[in-house]
């Protein structure tokens, strides 16, 4: 029996939640955007009137206001979004226990086993649409198919508050290859260079061919396009959450002009990342640094440590070394991100290096753990390094748990 997988996508989620609380904004152009004072000023979501005026997600507030001067811009309220996201998932849970969240507003539901109980797929889908609208006040697009990727395509094709069936490859073969999940700008261009414009074109190619042009990713793409999928959708709330990396990033309030500025922001980020790693009792081996210049060019670098560590000082030194080796200040930087990976638990003591003089420092560990304890009791700013105090404007942000790849 073929599986039945739904992809449920809440329509312009952030904007819908805001409109729920402010119904007067329903008929005027409105967008939710990051904080312009802190330069996170990009559009996160917009409503239908704003969309008609040409406002796009991920453009800056300035660009959006040029297209649509009467645009009402609201600040995001993440707590409220999480609350509604959870509420919608609880509603899904009444229909199936196999739910896989994909971001805050999207979910895959495997309803294969519930169909006989509820009667038909149609009935489940219509009931979901009705109940989410009536009980929660949001609208959904639902894609229905037999794999995740096809279902996602279906929900992209479906209009607001509607659903779309995709029964076979024939239904989607004329869509551009870039509309597939996982095919971004670069892969799309690469496929175009080989004359593969539509999903149908890609589906005609054999596996070795795709592997040849895209490497390992070609294999996944082959499965995606042809509707082969083996991994079942896990049971909701029983998914094993294995953390693969921990990181923080920050767009600073002003551009970083020199090494001092860079170190100030970096030390706050490193403090936060290492504290989170220690909280989870993990150790890392690899440090990643991502910088974005004023021209919005992104550069990422990584370095492997000689031994495992959980110290902020090690992240800091590593990031500085990476930066000095690869970057200069010819173009100022607007944001920095630090993350650590190759995580491991070490319950049975720590293997230190025999040959390195400056290895893992237990003294440093004591120091940083003490700081963690003080901050937990008296707040984030109760104790900081001298460097951070030099420019309180740059360092006065609190890194959130914004990046934790599972």
């Amino acid at each position: 029996m073929k599986k039945v997988i739904l992809h449920c996508d809440l329509n312009c989620f952030f904007a819908s939640v805001e409109m729920l609380h402010h119904p007067e904004l329903r008929n005027i152009p409105m967008a939710v955007a990051g904080d312009p004072d802190h330069r996170h000023g990009i559009i996160l979501a917009k409503n239908v009137p704003a969309k008609r005026k040409g406002v796009k997600t991920a453009e800056t507030i300035g660009e959006a206001l040029r297209k649509c001067p009467e645009l009402t811009v609201l600040k995001p309220d993440y707590d409220s979004y999480l609350y509604f996201s959870e509420k919608v998932r609880d509603l899904y849970y009444e229909y199936t226990d196999r739910i896989e969240p994909f971001g805050i507003d999207e979910c895959w539901l495997d309803i294969s086993a519930s169909i006989s109980y509820f009667g038909s797929v149609d009935r489940i889908v219509k009931e979901l649409l009705y109940r989410v609208k009536e009980e929660i006040g949001l609208t959904l697009s639902i894609g229905i198919s037999f794999t995740r990727v096809y279902a996602k395509l279906g929900s992209d094709l479906a209009k607001e508050d509607a659903f779309c069936y995709i029964d076979s490859l024939d239904d989607i073969k004329d869509l551009p290859a870039a509309s597939l999940l996982g095919v971004g700008y670069h892969t799309g261009e690469k496929l175009k260079a080989y004359g593969l414009y539509t999903i149908g074109d890609v589906a005609k190619k054999p596996l070795p061919y795709l592997k040849e042009i895209l490497g390992k990713w070609g294999e996944s793409l082959y499965c995606y396009v042809n509707g082969y999928e083996s991994a079942p959708i896990p049971k909701y709330r029983e998914q094993i959450e294995e953390v693969k990396s921990v990181g923080n990033s920050m767009t600073s309030i002003r551009d970083l002009q020199n090494m001092e500025d860079f170190k100030i922001v970096l030390s706050v980020l490193c403090d936060s990342v290492s504290a989170r790693v220690r909280e989870k009792k993990l150790f890392f081996r690899t440090v990643h640094l991502q910088v974005r210049t004023k021209k919005l060019e992104i550069r990422t670098m990584q370095m492997r440590l000689k031994e495992n560590s959980d110290l902020g000082k090690d992240i800091f030194n590593c990031a500085v070394a990476l930066f000095e080796k690869n970057c200069d200040f010819s173009v100022p930087f607007r944001s920095i991100g630090v993350s650590v990976s190759s995580l491991s638990y070490q319950k049975d003591g720590l293997q230190t290096s025999l040959f390195e003089k400056e290895g893992y420092s237990l003294k440093q560990k004591k120091e940083e753990t003490a700081i963690d304890t003080i901050r937990k009791r008296f707040g984030r700013f109760s104790v900081s390094s001298l460097r951070v105090l030099e420019d309180s404007g740059l360092s006065s942000f609190i890194p959130r748990n914004d990046k934790e790849n599972v």
Binding site: M19, L20, G137
Partner: protein, 78 residues
């Protein structure tokens, strides 16, 4: 249509059920709620609310909806 937050006197039962007993209206007027006939999750796109809707019967068989969402009570107003 819009909403108006109101004060409500409730009884929290040991089973975790919240039952509204009195609605506090203008000039601290305490209006008794005779009976709650239905509780269900509801939202209204026009008025801008979402939460649990309590269908309440007041004195004189007047029926009104009370809404409860994240610790606050409100009513619809014209």
């Amino acid at each position: 249509m819009s909403i108006r937050y109101v004060d409500v006197i409730c009884r929290f039962s040991k089973d975790g059920i919240i039952k509204p007993l009195y609605l506090i209206w203008e000039q601290n007027q305490k209006i008794p709620i005779i009976k709650v006939t239905e509780v269900c999750p509801r939202s209204s796109l026009q008025a801008g609310y979402t939460g649990l809707r309590y269908t309440c019967i007041f004195e004189g068989n007047r029926i009104r909806h009370l809404f409860y969402d994240r610790g606050k009570w409100y009513v619809e107003t014209r």
